[in-house]
């Protein structure tokens, strides 16, 4: 064992990038790359666990430049607290998977980047990959690579930053990530509409998202009693939020009068519930994440009478809870989009590909990239296939 590579609870835990590089260069078997281990998504991977947990700490935070550079293993909670102290935040609102997947541990910022985790604000602000400015990573040969940087606009060379976002550790192990952050708003409000069926709700969300009033969340969510509420979120300076809430209610008056909530804790709780797919916590069944055009959401729902649903992104993101082992993909035929099996037992994830199968020509490119960055196939082998 190289110096700087300690073992924590049986997991390899390199203490810095150099130790990680040495470890990967000399690795002789498959590795399961983890941050905090809270997002076990994809095909089960056999291999020794390698955690980035100790690659932790803030390298740079400049609120005036909206820039944050941190070690990949830094706990997300630490990052969020640091930003909050300056009145800023990660704009893409990363989901916490623990409640849905029944995992414990500390989510890391590197895990967020590796899984390209975004939340309800995706509809307005963009996804995790849109705010990632730069990465450092160690590839499967033990070579340290940098791409991007810390500045907002950068087209120097190929964009490996986006390639790494959402690559689930299959191309390299992230050691450092740089993000663009944004100011947290002075006020956030939830407009809640009751009693709409799915078609009406999608129509409402579509109209809201096409308005000039910068809706930063649009979801259709079941409550504890199973009845759905259709939620819109507005954020910004207080006067502006009130103004836009008024205009929206006016434009959407055909759908009933919304209840408007501006109490900070309860607005935050409402959207945390959406972000983390709260309605499916501690409920039996497999969970699928289906990405479609927003207006196709009702069509998706009609094809699965046995499923429970929750809708985010104005209908563009459909969360489905189905009986264990359901192969849902084939029944989505003809609806443009894709489905990912996010929660199921290992046997199901062996049998049903959790990630959407790619067309042959695209699969050849993905496979080619993995072979180049990880020629020995040691980084989360098979996870995305």
């Amino acid at each position: 064992m190289a110096s700087g590579n300690t073992i924590e609870n049986g997991a390899l835990a390199p203490e810095d990038e150099a130790a990680l590089a040495e470890l990967l260069a000399s690795a002789d078997g498959p590795l399961r790359i983890a941050g905090g281990g809270t997002r076990p998504i994809g095909r089960p991977v056999r291999g020794r666990v390698l955690t980035t947990r100790r690659l932790s700490g803030v390298s740079l935070y400049e609120p005036g430049a909206l820039t944050l550079v941190v070690g990949a293993g830094t706990p997300l909670a630490e990052v969020e607290a640091l930003l909050a102290a300056e009145g800023q935040r990660l704009p893409f609102e990363p989901m916490d998977h623990r409640g849905l997947l029944g995992t414990t541990g500390e989510p890391t910022i590197g895990g967020v980047a590796a899984a390209n985790v975004s939340g309800p604000r995706r509809v307005r602000a963009g996804a995790c990959r849109d705010f990632l400015l730069g990465v450092r990573f160690v590839d499967g040969t033990g070579t340290v690579v940098r791409s991007g940087g810390r500045v907002m606009k950068n087209v120097t060379g190929y964009d490996l930053v986006r390639l790494m976002a959402g690559s689930f550790g299959t191309l390299g192990v992230l050691t450092e990530v740089a993000f663009k952050v944004l100011p947290a708003p002075e006020l956030a409000a939830t407009l809640a509409f009751e009693g709409l069926d799915l078609r009406e709700a999608v129509l409402l969300m579509t109209r809201a998202l096409a308005s000039p009033w910068e809706v930063s969340g649009a979801a259709h969510v079941p409550g504890a009693d199973g009845t759905f509420r259709t939620l819109l979120r507005l954020e910004g300076f207080a006067d502006s939020v009130h103004y836009r809430a008024g205009r929206l209610a006016e434009r959407l008056s055909g759908f009933g009068a919304p209840e408007t909530d501006t109490e900070p804790a309860s607005v935050a709780a409402t959207w945390r519930e959406v972000r983390d797919v709260g309605p499916f916590h501690e409920r039996e069944g497999d969970v699928w994440r289906i990405s479609v055009k927003g207006t196709d959401a009702p069509e998706v729902a009609e094809r699965f009478p046995e499923a429970s649903f929750m809708f985010d992104w104005g209908g563009g993101l459909v969360w489905a809870l189905v009986p264990p082992g359901t192969e849902l993909r084939a029944r989505l035929d003809g609806i443009p989009g894709h489905a990912t099996l996010v929660r199921a037992d290992a046997t199901t994830r062996e049998r049903i590909a959790p990630f959407p199968p790619e067309p042959a020509a695209v699969a050849t490119l993905s496979e080619g990239l993995r072979r180049k960055f990880d020629p020995r196939g040691i980084l989360n082998p098979g996870l995305m296939t």
Binding site: R122, S147, V155, Y158, A210, Y243, P336, K372
Partner: protein, 479 residues
């Protein structure tokens, strides 16, 4: 700058290659008459010119695929071309190359306002995307200053930005999907109208790959509802440093303007002489534009005024009408033209951390003294994307080389302070030989591996982006 010499073996097969292209394409889609290929000898980086062996103007993805297959089989370099507005030489041909110009691919294929996207052929111009949806109250956000002419294909190749990307992001943040032709003629679809795509983010790496990974023929773009209104303010300062500090304070205050533009004294003087926008005579000025309803705009401008006041502005000018707003923008929009009236110039495109602004501006001043050249600074201050204009006289022997040397020094300075060589123009041939100032050999190697996968024979725009010594082994292995 060195371009590998034309391959005599390819030139020897010229007639056969052109005949194969003619046979594969409709009448009028292949140009090989030297009098006509000359029109394609350069892009907006006019200092470098070379007519290609032939130019093809396909009208469909399938035709692009046929061209690629022929060039792939013959081992002929291919230079993709949008509208030829690249400032980095992205569309500069070599004498043994075939240009694929996508200007005839210009249809709108699908407009879906409910799901807020538009699908277009990639030769369509940037501004015409907005034109196609503005009657319905939408717009396409990235707005490079060449937007009247530049093609979406080129925007994707260079991951273009514009003045408004502080709020709305650059091309990659507004691109949902592409249809593209790979080097061997295979047609693939990446992404789509959904808000995310499965698998590795190949779309993300294609965007900004400077035509080296494939030919994009169709694009699905995110369109946004237009805000109720927008209004600029102009603030003049007694020094660059103070203007820079004010930018940081505006951002820290939680205001997210759509644009924060910066001009220094040489630039202000040049534009005043040319455009007579009535700018104050001061060391530096900012143009800050905010959006929303009239009340929302007033509120934000009020906050900006409070912040600016703390920095002792020499002038704070608020647009109270459309006409006043247009006057504020007039100087900024004519800055490049104004400087071009009095001099030849090189336009740089480095990006720096906003906090390094004063230091970099001081560094540029020192370099200007050293090289005895004048520099006018105009740039997108909110995101640190600088466009120093180095003024020189092209008729004076040696001046261009001197200006280029100074440009290289400025870009090295940008990298030194934590920035990058190019924020929105791309590397092309212009910054190719500076890449090792920003990247280690391993960083460049990682990027070239991506090209190895997409274009194993290295036929797409092969002599660009990567320093020739660095790419030599890849190009040799591919030959």
């Amino acid at each position: 700058m060195h371009i590998p010499p034309a391959d005599p073996k390819i030139l020897a097969r010229r007639d056969r290659i052109v005949a194969a292209l003619r046979a594969a394409l409709p009448e009028g889609a292949v140009i090989d008459d030297p009098a006509e290929t000359r029109a394609y000898e350069c892009d907006a980086l006019t200092a470098y010119r070379c007519p290609p062996m032939a130019v093809t103007l396909p009208s469909s993805t399938e035709e692009v695929s046929r061209i690629m297959r022929i060039c792939h089989d013959e081992g002929v370099p291919v230079v993709p071309r949008g509208s030829g507005t690249s400032l980095a030489g992205g569309a500069l041909p070599t004498a043994d190359s075939v240009v694929i110009g996508v200007s005839r691919l210009n249809k709108v294929l699908e407009t879906d306002l409910d799901n807020r996207f538009i699908r277009v052929e990639a030769g369509r111009t940037n501004l015409s995307i907005t034109k196609a949806v503005e009657a319905e109250g939408f717009f396409y956000a990235p707005d490079p200053s060449s937007q009247l002419a530049c093609a979406i294909a080129g925007n994707i190749g260079m991951n273009s930005g514009g003045a408004h990307c502080l709020k709305y992001g650059v091309t990659t943040n507004n691109l949902l999907g592409v249809r593209m032709v790979l080097a061997d003629g295979t047609i693939v679809e990446l992404g789509g109208p959904m808000m995310d795509a499965p698998g590795l983010d190949l779309l993300g790496v294609v965007c900004g790959s400077e035509g080296q990974l494939g030919i994009v023929t169709e694009a699905t773009l995110r369109i946004l509802p237009r805000p109720e209104g927008a209004r600029p303010v102009l603030v003049g300062f007694s020094s660059n440093e103070v203007a820079g500090a004010c930018v940081a304070d505006i951002i820290k205050a939680g205001i997210l303007p759509v644009a924060i533009e910066f001009m220094d004294r040489p630039c202000i003087r040049a534009t005043e002489a040319f455009a007579h926008a009535g700018y104050p005579d001061c060391e530096a000025l900012l143009i800050v534009e905010v959006e929303g309803s009239p009340d929302e705009i007033d509120h934000q401008i009020g906050l900006i005024r409070q912040i600016a006041t703390l920095h002792d502005p020499v002038e704070f000018r608020e647009a109270r009408s459309e006409e006043e707003a247009a006057r504020i923008w007039l100087g900024r929009k004519s800055a490049f033209g104004a400087v071009g009236q009095i001099n030849d110039y090189i336009c740089l495109d480095g990006t720096i951390p906003v906090s390094e602004l004063p230091r970099v501006l001081a560094g540029i001043r020192r370099l200007a003294e050293h090289y005895e050249l004048e520099v006018a600074n105009v740039f997108h201050a909110g995101d640190g994307n600088m466009h120093p204009l180095i003024l020189f006289n092209a008729n004076e022997p040696g001046e261009l080389a001197k200006a280029e040397a100074m440009g290289a020094d400025i870009l090295r300075l940008c990298v030194e302070v934590g920035g990058c060589l190019t924020g929105e123009h791309g590397v092309g041939v212009e910054k190719r030989d500076l890449m090792d100032a920003q990247f280690t050999p391993a960083d460049l190697e990682a990027q070239m591996r991506v090209k190895d996968v997409f274009d194993p024979k290295w036929i797409l725009n092969p002599a660009k982006v990567f320093p020739l010594e660095a790419s030599a082994s890849h190009r040799r292995a591919a030959a």
